[in-house]
Structure formats: structure tokens, C-alpha cells
């Protein structure tokens, strides 16, 4: 830590003599970018002590940025119409000036690829490099979710494989067949991830290596399900006992929260190539899952890092005042948080919340007040705020991070309050507010609103009625009487049916009382059939 402190001291002593500005004016060239990168790296590595993947920074044009938008920001993606839809939407918004383009896109890969727009001024390039190539990069490499669930080293190879494989399938089986399959698999992407189980870390590279081998194997493989599916003599089967049921569930590893995984392994309707495509979609869903859970932290980390680095560079006399002003201006834009009654309010800005919490952690470490000592005894007054932040970045996701670190002071600063909405009532009710009694409530409620287990429906495969019609039973565990959106649900069930090959039914029951609230099914009733 001593070297970092020395660096900080140096930073605090003001511009050191003998060093010149890295750049003046707004134009950039590759030389300046390189020099600036080195200067940023000096602060990021020696002072902040970040731990990053090797960087690969690519300069792209705005058209290319639009292209990148349309495929989850990935440099490689298989072809699908939904990406085209995304593209025409973004293109229109951009051309009409409703939305600007991102200054950068960064990819969780090793080496860490970030795209910088050529239109950026040199000051913006500086900001963007500090933000993406160091902030996000450090987060990707160190956060436990990413470490556990994603394979940064293998992702590009895997996407390359996926793209080629799907193109090959289109050739062999027709574009329409592949498109339908992808439609169905995409509909289940949110339910195609492992949330809780500690499966072994995905090793995409190894998967790739074994793909062909596995395909051959699966052609021959003994399908558990088929064995239990009665043949023509269905009527001969004795009544199913509870043991049979338990045995079957055990064999199929039910209940299963990962619908795509279950279908890939057990669907009687899928051909081997279809299983492979479902697996591809599932792997990609899993790859993006950590990002969905860490928006606040990821952006907060990157914003904190760029803010610290650019300030340090300015203090060292590397950035002109003009460049620094431009950086601060765009920093402030990114952090804009309209209040709830502002027409521009679109929910809590993850950049603003993340940055505020991380700056707050630094404050608690270095200048704690009594309140902080009471709330955060582990870090209050701990001089090493860098270490405290790095621990937070490494070991939390949004939900747990907020639950752990949201301070009363920040709640007061943002004047957060909880609003309860019971859809059966004619009014909303204000819950906890920023007062002594409310801090815990606000914190709990805010943390919950970032918990994907709460905001996404909890759907599991619970049973397959093998004796009779092979209907797949899904179970929706409902909280607070929140139902599923009806029309979307019907469509998704139709997609599940396509992947499963037989009818599917979904039961919604309350989490506590287990009382059934609704039933939905793809089985056509007689009445439907008449219509």
C-alpha cells in the first residue's frame, strides 16, 4: 500500500514540475491515445491498485457502434431477426436524435475489448479509457459473479463457434426452422440460467472442444425420459405411487429452475442439433446473467474509477483545465438523477447510485462520523479505502451491496422513500422515509428491487406427467399476488410447448400459503377447439 500512498501524496502535492500536458485541444491521434493510456494506467495500477485483464481498445465509427448495439454489444453473434429489430429501433432513435450513442462498449472478455467511438474528443477518449478499460475491466476480472459464471477467456471463441454452428444449421435445416427454434429459446432466456446452484464454472473453451464428441454421444445416449415414457401399452401401467413420483423427480433432477437446461437435456422433441442451439442460447444467457445483477456496481465502479483517475491526472498536471471541464461536464451528465416527480424521471440511475455509494464508502473509510461508526464498524475509519472498495467490488452484487453499504447519510442525501403499491387499492402508501426509523426499511426495499429473484418471475419445472399425456408441469411461485403478464405468458408457453413437443401447463401458487392462484395451459379446451 505504501507505493499507492506515495502516489497519492504525489497527486496531492499538485502538478509536478517538468511534466507537460498529455494533449491540448480536442483532436486525438493514436500516439496521444497511447501516451494517455499509459498515464491512466499509472494511476490505475500504481495508485488504485486495480487488477485488470490485458486491454484491447478498438476505435470504431458510429455506424459500427450501431451494429454493435444490435448484437448485445458483442463483436460476434449468430444471426437472428430480433437483432435486426433492435438495430432498426436504435438506428431510428439515433437518427432522430432521441438518443445519443454510447461513448464506449466494453466486453467481458480476456483480453478485455472496449470499443471507443471515433467521434469522441480526446478528453472523452481519456474518460472512456479510464471508465471502460480500467473500471469495468477490473470489475469483470474480480467480481465473484463474473468469476464464477463467466469464462472471459473463452467467450469470443465460443461465440465464434456459435455463429458458425448456427449458420451451418441454417444451411442444413433451413433458415426458418432455425429461426423458430431460436425464437423459442430466446423466449426462455430469462429462465435459462442457474441462479443458486453451484455448478462447476463454465469452461466455454472446453465445451467447444467437446462439442462434436458430445453430439455423437448424445445421438446414442440413453434418454432417461424415453425409458419412462410408456409405449403402446400405456394402459397396462399400474397406478403411479408416491414412490414412483419421487423416484422420477429424482431421476430428472426436479424441480429445475433452469428451463432451457431441462429442455435441452430431457425434451423428447429436440434433435441433437436443436439441443446444441438451445445450449448455445443458454450459455449466452448465463454469460450475461452477472451483468444483469450488477448494473449499479459495475457502472458505479467504472464511474468511480474514471472520476478518481481523471482527477488525479489533472492534479498531476497531465490534463488541461479545458479537458478536465469537459470530463466533469460529461461526468455530471452521466450521474444525473431526476427526482421522482420530474417528468424526466426514469427510475434510479444506476450510475448515480453506484457512484454515490462508492464515494460514500471512501468517505466512511477516511472521514467517518459517529453514525457511520455505528452502522459500518468494519470499515469506518479504516484508512485503506481502496482495499475496502475492492472488497466490495469483488464480493457483492447489487442487491447484497445495497443491503450492506447503503448508508443513512446517502438515504438522506437522495431523500429516498418507499412507495407501496397495492393494485387493488385506489392509493399508494408511503412506507419508510429518510428518518431514523426508516433507514433499514428503505435499504431493505431498495436492495429487494435489485434482486433478480424478486423482479423476475420464479418459474420451475416440477413434474412431467409421463403416465398420461406427457404434459410438462411448470410452477410459478408467486410473491405478493403478482401475476404474470397474460398475453406474453400464453406466447411463452407456446414456445415451451414447441421445445418440449407436448403440452405444457403452468400453475401459479402463493409462496407462503401454497394456494393455487391460477392455471394456464397449452392444452386446447373443447371450447377453444370449436372456435
Amino acid at each position: 500500500m505504501s507505493s499507492a500512498e506515495a502516489a497519492q501524496r504525489e497527486a496531492e502535492t499538485g502538478p509536478s514540475s517538468g511534466r507537460k500536458y498529455l494533449f491540448e485541444g480536442s483532436d486525438w491521434d493514436f500516439d496521444t491515445l497511447r501516451r494517455t493510456y499509459d498515464a491512466i494506467a499509472e494511476v490505475a495500477l500504481d495508485d488504485l491498485g486495480l487488477d485488470i485483464y490485458a486491454n484491447q481498445i478498438e476505435i470504431i465509427s458510429s455506424e459500427q457502434m450501431l451494429d454493435a448495439y444490435a448484437s448485445h454489444g458483442m463483436p460476434l453473434m449468430y444471426r437472428h431477426w430480433s437483432f435486426g429489430k433492435q438495430f432498426v429501433r436504435e438506428e431510428r432513435l439515433y437518427r432522430k436524435g432521441y438518443s445519443g450513442l454510447a461513448y464506449e462498449i466494453v466486453i467481458n472478455s480476456d483480453p478485455c475489448i472496449s470499443y471507443n467511438m471515433e467521434e469522441n474528443t480526446m478528453a472523452m477518449q481519456t474518460l472512456v479509457m479510464a471508465h471502460a478499460a480500467f473500471g469495468h475491466n477490473h470489475f469483470f476480472k474480480n467480481n465473484y459473479l463474473f468469476r464464477q459464471w463467466t469464462d472471459a477467456e473463452g467467450i469470443l471463441d465460443y461465440l465464434n463457434f456459435a455463429k458458425g454452428y448456427i449458420a451451418e444449421c441454417e444451411e442444413k435445416h433451413g433458415v426458418v426452422a432455425v429461426e423458430e427454434l431460436l425464437d423459442s429459446a430466446h423466449a426462455l432466456m430469462d429462465q435459462g440460467v442457474f441462479r443458486y446452484g453451484r455448478r462447476p464454472k463454465l469452461n466455454l473453451r472446453e465445451q467447444l472442444k467437446r462439442e462434436r464428441e458430445r453430439r455423437d454421444y448424445e445421438d446414442r445416449t440413453f434418454n432417461d425420459l424415453w425409458r419412462t415414457v410408456p409405449g403402446n401399452g400405456a394402459g397396462d401401467k399400474p397406478e403411479e405411487t408416491d414412490e414412483d413420483l419421487a423416484e422420477r423427480k429424482k431421476r430428472l433432477k426436479l424441480p429445475e429452475e433452469n428451463l432451457l437446461y431441462f429442455l435441452e437435456k430431457n425434451s423428447p422433441a429436440l434433435e441433437p442439433w436443436q439441443r446444441e442451439i438451445v445450449r448455445i442460447v443458454r450459455n449466452i444467457a448465463q454469460y450475461f446473467y452477472p451483468q444483469k445483477q450488477t448494473k449499479v456496481m459495475n457502472e458505479g465502479c467504472a464511474t468511480f474509477v474514471h472520476h478518481y483517475i481523471t482527477n488525479a491526472m489533472h492534479e498531476r498536471g497531465l490534463l488541461t483545465d479545458g479537458a478536465m471541464l469537459e470530463i466533469l461536464h460529461s461526468h455530471a451528465n452521466v450521474l444525473r438523477q431526476p427526482e421522482f416527480d420530474d417528468p424526466q424521471y426514469r427510475g434510479i440511475n444506476p450510475y448515480a447510485l453506484g457512484f454515490a455509494m462508492m464515494a460514500d464508502i471512501r468517505r466512511i473509510c477516511s472521514e467517518p462520523e459517529d453514525e457511520d461508526r455505528e452502522w459500518f464498524p468494519e470499515i469506518a475509519g479504516r484508512r485503506d479505502w481502496r482495499g475496502a472498495l475492492k472488497e466490495a467490488w469483488a464480493n457483492f452484487r447489487d442487491e447484497s451491496f445495497i443491503r450492506q453499504y447503503l448508508s443513512p447519510r446517502l438515504i438522506r442525501d437522495l431523500r429516498l422513500f418507499v412507495l407501496g403499491n397495492d393494485t387493488t387499492k385506489s392509493h399508494c402508501k408511503v412506507g419508510s422515509i429518510h428518518d431514523e426509523r426508516g433507514y433499514h426499511g428503505v435499504r431493505e426495499s431498495l436492495a429487494q428491487s435489485y434482486d433478480l429473484a424478486v423482479i423476475e418471475p420464479d418459474i420451475q419445472v416440477v413434474d412431467v406427467d409421463l403416465r398420461g399425456d406427457r404434459v410438462l408441469h411448470l410452477h410459478h411461485t408467486m410473491r405478493d399476488d403478482v401475476r404474470l403478464h397474460d398475453s406474453a405468458m400464453a406466447e411463452v408457453l407456446a414456445h415451451v410447448r414447441r421445445l418440449w413437443g407436448y403440452d405444457v401447463c403452468l400453475t401459479g401458487a402463493d409462496a407462503q400459503s401454497d394456494k393455487t392462484s391460477y392455471n394456464a395451459s397449452t392444452v386446447r379446451s373443447d371450447k377453444d377447439a370449436e372456435e
Partner: protein, 437 residues
């Protein structure tokens, strides 16, 4: 540790494949939206406005998600001003009261229309789909080509006026360098020295020797310069032109309209839409299009577009005057060989009694052989729609034109009563011929 890569020169349009897939998938809806755009918007905007919105059904990507209008939920919001725990806030009426901005946003992407921009090409492609240019009857493939001479490289022979100086000089320079032609400067330097020596008086022995050597040299240089001329016939290059068949890409469109008092604003507006649709259609086929506006009452006159649509005239109605005027203009300015001639006529169907027969004769004998296509639109009063939609009935002009229509497949006629009729008319006029005959 760090790579900086310039990707700007990489191919763009990486999403082109996805975009095409999307357009293909939503084709039916997009086409419908395009048709709607055409009938709803002002025709002048049609070509420019390419934003279409289609129902998101069919291109929806359904996911299982919570219904914002059910159950109980909590949200945290910033910027509390006066709320205290336990306050009750009435929900806005009708909106279902979403306290949580986040879920409100997720809702927004629900059943709305999906709006996006088609490129002009994509838009018009759909707009004109399965329409074909009416019978390139006369100008079939052999005739559509006119000859035109175009630059076609260089030759070694030709007329002096076609000499390409640059190339000729370049060849000369190359030849002179290769054959080592002495430069004028060398010659001048030697001659100057000779002159200097000659002027010395008395000349010494060495001077005389030197003079002899120099004179010999000068002689040699002069000879060589004569042998290797500055420009040799083999240097000369001529621009070559070759007659090339050229597609006849010019079209002229005649807009004929009755502007007598019986044609009101509504009628003119309908006519205008009809003309513009034809224009748009031609624009797709021809590089260059001229439009001639001819208005007529009992006499006809060529006018500019503004006058055509906006000024009012009084007088009777003699349709044949417009045909006369058109014929005159065709003969004077638009030779049939170079121009594809289209005519669009709009009228309310009135004509001076006896003139209609004259029109038929003129069309049959003079105009129809010249025209690629002749479209006639009779604009009906909305109240007459029911009465006159039957093509068998009608005023003299209509009845007489029907004879022409029978004789000439490239003559089309139609009645319209409202803006909504125009597009179907347009389609029918230009629908593939096989659907008609």
C-alpha cells in the same frame, strides 16, 4: 498488455443480415403499414417519409414477466419532499398507478406500435411491389436503346481535333528519354562556348583545338536532335469514341387537367395525387423525367405547376384542345425516339357536346401510337359514387373513351371519388397486364 486497434475501416453493415431477416419476418405488416402511409399521408410526403410503424404483435419477443397491474409491490424513489411514513397518495385515474418507474418502463414496450425507419429504397420497393411498368410495348428491348457515342479509350489514328495532348506529350517524353535526345539546354551551352571562343582574338592553339572539338559536338547534337524529334507520329494518340447503345432513360409525363369552373379544390387535389403517384412510379424507372402541365377550358395552354393547380379559369370545356396542345408539344420538343411519353388526364367528365368524338379520333390516330401509356381519371362527386361506379354508365367523354380503352391496351381509365380511391386506382392502372387481359 495493451492493444490499440483502428477498426474504422472494417466493413460496416455487420447487422445487414439481421436487418434483412427482420424485414423478411415482418414483411406482411410492413407492407400493410406502407400502404397505410400512402393512403393517409399527403402524397408529396410519401417519397420522403419512410418511418413506418407496425403492430408489435408478430415481431414481439415474449418473455415471462410480471404483470404491473397485479399484486402488491414496493418501489424506492428519490427526491422525497413532504411525504411522511403512512401518507396515502391517490393513484392517477385510469393509469393503474405505477409507483415504480422501472416497471413502468418495462410496460412501455408491451403492445405498442413498433416504429422504425425504412430506407427510401426499401420503402418504395414495397410500395411498388408487384407493379410493373405498363407494357414496354412499343419500346421493347430492341427499341429502347438509342445510340450514343461514348469515350472508349485511345487510338493511334483519328482526326486532329481528337488529339489527346496529355497522352501524346507523355509518350513523346518517354520516347525522348529512352532514345537519349539531347536537351536544348546542352546545345545552347555548347553554342555559347563556341561563340565565346570564336570571339577571342587572337585565338591560341589550344583555343582552336577546343573550338574544333566543340563544333563537332554541336554538329553531333544537332544531328541527334533531328533524328529524334520532339514529337514523333508514333507518339500521337487520339481520343476514341464508340457509339454505344444507351437505354432510353428519359420520360416525359403530360398532366392534362380540366380547370373549368366545375373542377373545384377537391377535384384538383385528387387529380394532383394521381399525377404525383404516376410521377413517383416513373421516377423509379427513368433517370430523367420531364413534366408538362397542360390545363384546358375551352382552350388549352401549357403552364407551370403552381398555376396548374392553383389558378382558376372560367370558360367552357373542350377536351380536344388539350390533346391538340399535347400533340404540338410532343412534336416540337419530345421526339418519340428519345422520349418515353406518358400522359395522365384528369377531368370531371364534362365536355362540349360532339367534342368527345373528336378526342377519340385524335387519340386513335395521333396520340396513342406515340404514348407508352395513357391514363384517364374521371373525378366523381362523392354523392355520385354509387351511381357512377358502374363503368357502363357515364357522360359522353367516358363512353367515348371506353372505345379507345377497348382498342388500346395501354389506355386505362378509372373513376375516383375520394383520396382513398386513388391508391387502388393507381394499382389497377399499373397492375400487371396479365391480370387484366
Amino acid at each position: 498488455m495493451f492493444h490499440l486497434i483502428d477498426r474504422r475501416l472494417n466493413p460496416k453493415d455487420k447487422s445487414l443480415g439481421n436487418r434483412q431477416r427482420f424485414l423478411r419476418r415482418a414483411r406482411a405488416q410492413i407492407k400493410e403499414a406502407v400502404n397505410r402511409t400512402v393512403s393517409e399521408r399527403k402524397v408529396a410526403d410519401v417519397a420522403g417519409g419512410e418511418t413506418v410503424s407496425i403492430p408489435s404483435k408478430g415481431i414481439a419477443e415474449p418473455r415471462l414477466r410480471h404483470d404491473a397491474n397485479s399484486g402488491r409491490r414496493e418501489g424506492v424513489l428519490p427526491g422525497n419532499k413532504e411525504f411522511l411514513t403512512g401518507d396515502k397518495i391517490p393513484k392517477p385515474q385510469g393509469g393503474g398507478g405505477q409507483g415504480n418507474g422501472k416497471e413502468g418502463a418495462a410496460e412501455g414496450s408491451g403492445d405498442d406500435e413498433f416504429e422504425f425507419a425504412l430506407s427510401r429504397e426499401e420503402f418504395l420497393e414495397l410500395f411498388f411491389e408487384d407493379l410493373e411498368l405498363p407494357d414496354l410495348v412499343k419500346t421493347d428491348l430492341n427499341e429502347i436503346y438509342a445510340e450514343k457515342s461514348r469515350p472508349a479509350g485511345f487510338t493511334t489514328s483519328g482526326s486532329p481535333s481528337a488529339i489527346d495532348v496529355r497522352r501524346t506529350m507523355r509518350n513523346g517524353l518517354g520516347r525522348r528519354l529512352a532514345l537519349m535526345r539531347p536537351r536544348l539546354r546542352e546545345l545552347e551551352a555548347l553554342e555559347a562556348e563556341v561563340a565565346e571562343l570564336e570571339s577571342r582574338n587572337p585565338a591560341s592553339e589550344t583555343d582552336r583545338d577546343r573550338l574544333a572539338v566543340l563544333r563537332k559536338q554541336v554538329e553531333g547534337i544537332k544531328r541527334k536532335r533531328r533524328a529524334v524529334p520532339f514529337i514523333d507520329p508514333i507518339d500521337v494518340r487520339f481520343r476514341h469514341r464508340q457509339p454505344q447503345p444507351e437505354p432510353n432513360t428519359k420520360a416525359v409525363m403530360f398532366c392534362l387537367m380540366d380547370v373549368s369552373g366545375s373542377m373545384g379544390e377537391r377535384e384538383k387535389d385528387l387529380a394532383k395525387r394521381f399525377f404525383i403517384l404516376l410521377y413517383l412510379f416513373l421516377q423509379r424507372r427513368y433517370e430523367h423525367i420531364d413534366i408538362v402541365f397542360i390545363r384546358h377550358t375551352h382552350e388549352a395552354q401549357e403552364v407551370d405547376e403552381d398555376t396548374f393547380f392553383h389558378s382558376r379559369e372560367t370558360g367552357g370545356t373542350v377536351v380536344s384542345t388539350a390533346l391538340d396542345e399535347m400533340l404540338k408539344i410532343v412534336r416540337a420538343r419530345y421526339p418519340n425516339k428519345e422520349w418515353n411519353i406518358y400522359a395522365a388526364q384528369a377531368s370531371d367528365g364534362e365536355n362540349y357536346s360532339g367534342d368527345s368524338e373528336r378526342c377519340v379520333t385524335m387519340l386513335n390516330n395521333e396520340l396513342m401510337p406515340l404514348c407508352q401509356y395513357y391514363a384517364y381519371v374521371e373525378i366523381l362527386d362523392e354523392r355520385e359514387t354509387g351511381l357512377f361506379m358502374n363503368p357502363g354508365t357515364g357522360a359522353a367523354l367516358w363512353r367515348n373513351y371506353q372505345e379507345v380503352s377497348g382498342d388500346w391496351p395501354n389506355f386505362a381509365m378509372k373513376r375516383v371519388a375520394s383520396p382513398g380511391d386513388i391508391y387502388p386506382v393507381f394499382r389497377e392502372l399499373f397492375a400487371k397486364q396479365d391480370g387484366k387481359n
